[in-house]
Structures are given as C-alpha cells and as structure tokens.
Amino acid sequence: MTFTDPNTTTLPEDGTVRELGERGTTRGATILRRVFAAKRARVGAILLVIIALWAFVGPLLYPWGFLDQDVRAFGDPPSLNHWFGTNNIGQDIYAQTLVGLQKSLIIGFIVGPAAALIAGIVGAVAGYLGGVWDRIIVWVIDLLLVLPSFYILVLLSPVFRSLSWLALVVFLALFGWMVLARVIRGQTMSLREREYVKAARFMGVSGATIVRRHILPNVASLLIIDATLGIGAAILAESTLSFFGFGVQPPDVSLGTILALGSTSAVTRPWLFVFPAGILVVTVLASSLLGDALRDAIDPTSGATSD
C-alpha cells in the first residue's frame, strides 16, 4: 500500500525534483510572485491575517468579556448590544467565539508546522539512510496508519485530558505527520543520488549535516505547503475532539468546546452554533486556499498557476 497524499502534495513518490526559477530572479522571488499571482492565495493570506488580528485585537475593542454575564439578556438573539447573541446564562457569544478562536488558532499554528517538521526529519532520515533503517521507518509509518489518527487520539485522550491543552498540541502533532513523511522519503531517495549530495558525502560530511544542509532545504517547499494545510487540519481535528469532550477541557475554551455547548440548543437558538461554526469554517478555508495556491505555485506539475 503506497500512501501518496494528494491532499497535501501532488509530487510523485519517485520524486524527480524540479527546477524552479526563471532567468534573472531568485527562486524565492519567483515563488512569491507566482503565489500571489493566484487570487486564491491572496484571499487566503489576507483572510488568515484578518482572522488572526480579529481574534487577538477584537476582544479589546468589545465591552463584554467572555465570562461576563448580562443578567438582562438570557438567551437573546443577536443585537447591537450582543453581536452574536447570548447563551442561556447571559454570556456573550461574540466574546466567547473570539477567545475560542484564539486558542484554536494557536493550536493550528503550532501543530501544522510541527507535524511538517517531524515529517521532514523522519522522511529525510529514512530516505537518506536507506536499507534497514528505511524499512523500519516505513513499517512504523504503515503501522501508525492502520488506525485512523482520530481513533488513536480518542483512545489516548485519558492521557492528555488530565494535562493542559499543550499536551493536546503535542499529541496532534505526533499523529499528523505520517503521510507527508512518506512523500518526503521518496523525494530524498532521488535527492541522495544528486552530484552535490554525493560530493558532500565523499568529502566526509556527516549524514546529519547533509540532511540538514542539502536535503531539508530541497524539500522545504513541500514542508511549507503542508505546514500551511496542516494549520486548517489541526484546527479541524482539535474542534472535533473538543466537540466530543476529548480535546480542550474547561476552563480553557476553543471553538470546539463552544460548538459543543452551542450544539445542544442549536435548533432553538441557532446563533449559539452558527456563528462560531461559520468562523471555524472560514479560518480553515483560508488556510487551505493559501496552502493550495502555494502548491500550485511551487509544484509545476499540479497545473494551475492562475485562476
């Protein structure tokens, strides 16, 4: 069973590494220009920045705190006073959503890059060392893919539930790298045969240094794409786990815990559910639009560079 993950990358596992860069410009500038030529990338990047600013600045500009109770407004629909309405004990949903969004964003922005980093290191080590090590690592990856990550996280939840939300971050990253690692491994196996890697090896440069200096920079584009897409994926995973009570625990709030509370009366008071859900969807959408546009810009085989 070969697991290429078209969701995160479209490069083939046999991985011919493609040259980028047009005459007269650096590689980075070319990529940046291509990324932001795509409308999706601009929309995604701008949305992400706005959402992040809103989450962290928004509460400062709003009169209600996320634990404040308005005794004159129990379960009120959205109004000028309470923009997203209130819940049945008079807490402001707008204030709560922003605080939850902060936590979800922090989790996403740590887990996405962390998982990509693990994938990069494991994949590069397996591909570079080859032989027995490669077989062991691939076997472990296959083993971790037998059970869905969500199942593993649910089964492990007694461990991180008793710790802080930071433990959840660690576990989300620990079970989110496997598929990308296989792709990176394929790339590394072809990079290993490149002349400059061979030259470095024959000059006596150590394996760790070669991986760090020559392999990882060459697969960096893939890692950046996956780190971006991983932000959204982590926010989705976190909210789903929290929704079932396996993720972020009170007194901490995240979008998932807010949605869990709101879902019980979602039919009679839709504002408790619909507004946080909408913000969650827009956040994840922004990260996936940006990630997808990055992929189009970096990987010429994926086709579109404009839309």
Binding site: N7, D142, V146, L147, P148, Y151, L280, L289, G303
Partner: protein, 327 residues
C-alpha cells in the same frame, strides 16, 4: 497477480495483528477501569474491585504483557473478545453494531465515490469554466467544515422543515423509530427516512474529497499522448475521455481509496455519535468514556480488519486497472 495480492494480504494481516496488540497495550496503559469504583459512598472494598477487574481481565496489578497474552489466547481459542464494563460480550456487541455501521457506511461511501468521481471528471474536462469553479470552491468549503457541523446544520434544517410542515417528515434520531409496528414496507420506509441525514452527511464529505483528487488525476491524463491518439484514430471526444481518460485517472484513485478509508471511518464514527446510531464509531467513543479496555481493544481489532480489507481491495482494483502490476 495472485502472488502480488497474496504478498500484500500477508503484509496487511501482519500489520493488523501488531497494530491490535499495540492498541491493546495502549488502552491498557491509559484507561483506568478502577476509577469508576473509587470515590463511592459507601466505599467499595478493594477485594470486590479486584474481583470485578479480574473478571474483565483488566486488573492493573497483573503485568500488562500477561494481560495481553491472556486476551490474545482467549481470543484465538474461544473467539471471544472478553466482557465489556456493562457485562455484555464484546464479540456480540461488535456483531450487532457492525451491521449498523456497515448499513450507514456502504451507502455513503459508494454514493460519495461515484458522485465525487463524476464531478471530478466533469470539473477537469471543463477546467476554469464556471461549473469547475463552483465545484472547486464548494468542495473547499465542505472540506473546511467539520463533519459534526455538517450533521448539526442538517439537523437544524430538518427541524425547521418539520416545523414548517407541521409533522415529522424527517426523523433523524437513531436508526429507526423506537417501537415501530407494521408490515415490511412501513419499517423499510422508516429506516430509509432515518438513513437520509446521516447518509447526506457522509456523502457530502466524500464527494468533496473524491472530486478534488479525481479532478487533479484527470487533468494529468487529459494532456497525455494516448488521448490524442485515441482521438486521431477516430474516437469521439466522449469515448476517448471515458475509455482512455477516466480509466487511467482511476488508477491513483484506488490508492487514495485505501488512504482515505481511515477518514471515512472517522467521519462515520462522528456521524453515528451525532445521529445516535449505535454503531462501531459510537462504541469507540463510549468505550473511552467508560474506560472499557475490552470494548476498545475489540474496536481496534475490528477497525484494523476493515482497514486490511480496504487495503487489499484497493490493491485488487489497482491490479485490475493497471496491467503493469499483473506481471
């Protein structure tokens, strides 16, 4: 080809066995089955706690490897997965719940794959036209929406519809109405109505991801020489695209099918819990809340067997579609 499938099968069986054993160790180490006896008033004597835990084979004072050995030999010799914390046989629970899960999964997966592939081909053929853009942005939005949000939004919609009509047109709690009486068709109709919302929830997600992959696989194929050859030897555009394009573009999809199976299971377990279907996904979530080691281990075994079947199936499809594998 038989050899290829056989080798794969042996590999999967081995992986599943190891995964189950590790899973058993994992839940034995993390779950605390004794916790529900503690803090009671009057306090439960240690002897009866031990007796209860020993009966389930989950007493933490027994070394963990010994417990695994007991569990595995019990499974191999008697086919029993032990007793759940509620006193039921885990094997019987699983057989009952697996039927529920499969009824939900099969329809959702098949519908999702068929509609998704069709939409993906459509989008690739009409690249950058309005319909392609609509499909692309719609699937991005669906993929950005957690499964439970889709499910609850559908529930809100159904409730509003029921209210507007005045009767319960769409029932969405459970697999069938409790205590329903009547002939075969009444019961069948009741079950189909209950299937509606969970199936839509599962199908929407599957359609969104399959259409994305199929579109990109199809785009790779569209510019290939053999499509031009097929056209130049006189095939119509439609025939060339279907016979030579879609068939080739389905090859990577068979790998994706195996990979995405875990996501399908995840989606199913969330859907089950939301719509109160007593299936395997709900069993997993319940076993964690109840610290039920045997039920969780049984679910792990069941899931890894499903993943094994999905992997083998995708290899068979791959071999059937790609003649190069058959040598």
């Amino acid at each position: 080809m038989i050899g290829f499938i056989g080798r794969r099968l042996v590999n999967y069986v081995f992986l599943s066995a190891i995964a189950t054993a590790l899973g058993y160790l994992l839940v034995s180490a993390t779950f605390q089955p004794a916790a529900r006896f503690l803090g009671r008033n009057p306090p439960v004597p240690q002897a009866s706690i031990d007796a209860a835990l020993d009966k389930l084979g989950v007493n933490p004072s027994v070394p963990i490897l010994e417990r695994l050995w007991e569990w595995a030999t019990h499974l191999v010799t008697t086919g029993s997965l032990g007793i759940s914390t509620r006193g039921t046989q885990v094997t019987a629970d699983i057989f009952e719940r697996a039927g529920t899960s499969l009824r939900l999964l099969v329809i959702g997966t098949v519908l999702g794959a068929v509609i998704g592939v069709a939409l993906g081909v459509w989008g690739a053929v009409r690249q950058y036209k309005a319909s392609d853009q609509v499909i692309t942005y719609a699937s991005f939005t669906v993929l950005a929406t957690p499964v439970f949000v889709i499910g609850i939004l559908l529930m809100i919609g159904a409730t509003l519809l029921n209210r507007a009509v005045g009767t319960n047109v769409i029932n969405f709690t459970g697999e069938y109405s409790a205590g329903i009486q009547g002939n075969f068709f009444v019961i069948l109709q009741d079950r189909l109505v209950h299937l509606l919302l969970p199936t839509i929830t599962l199908t929407i997600g599957a359609v969104a991801s399959y259409s994305r992959y199929q579109r990109s696989a199809m785009l790779d194929v569209l510019s290939a020489d053999y499509i031009r050859t097929a056209r130049s030897k006189g095939r119509t555009r439609g025939s060339a695209l279907i016979r030579h394009g879609v068939r080739v573009a389905l090859i990577p999809m068979s790998t994706f099918f195996a990979y995405s199976f875990g996501l399908v299971l995840t989606g199913a377990s969330i859907t089950e819990s939301i719509f109160s279907w007593h299936g395997m996904g709900e069993y997993l979530i319940m076993s964690t809340t109840n610290s039920d080691v045997n039920a969780a281990a049984g679910t792990i075994l069941f899931t890894s067997i499903l993943v094994l079947i999905a992997g083998t199936l995708s290899d068979v499809i791959y071999a059937a579609l790609d003649p190069r594998v058959r040598v």
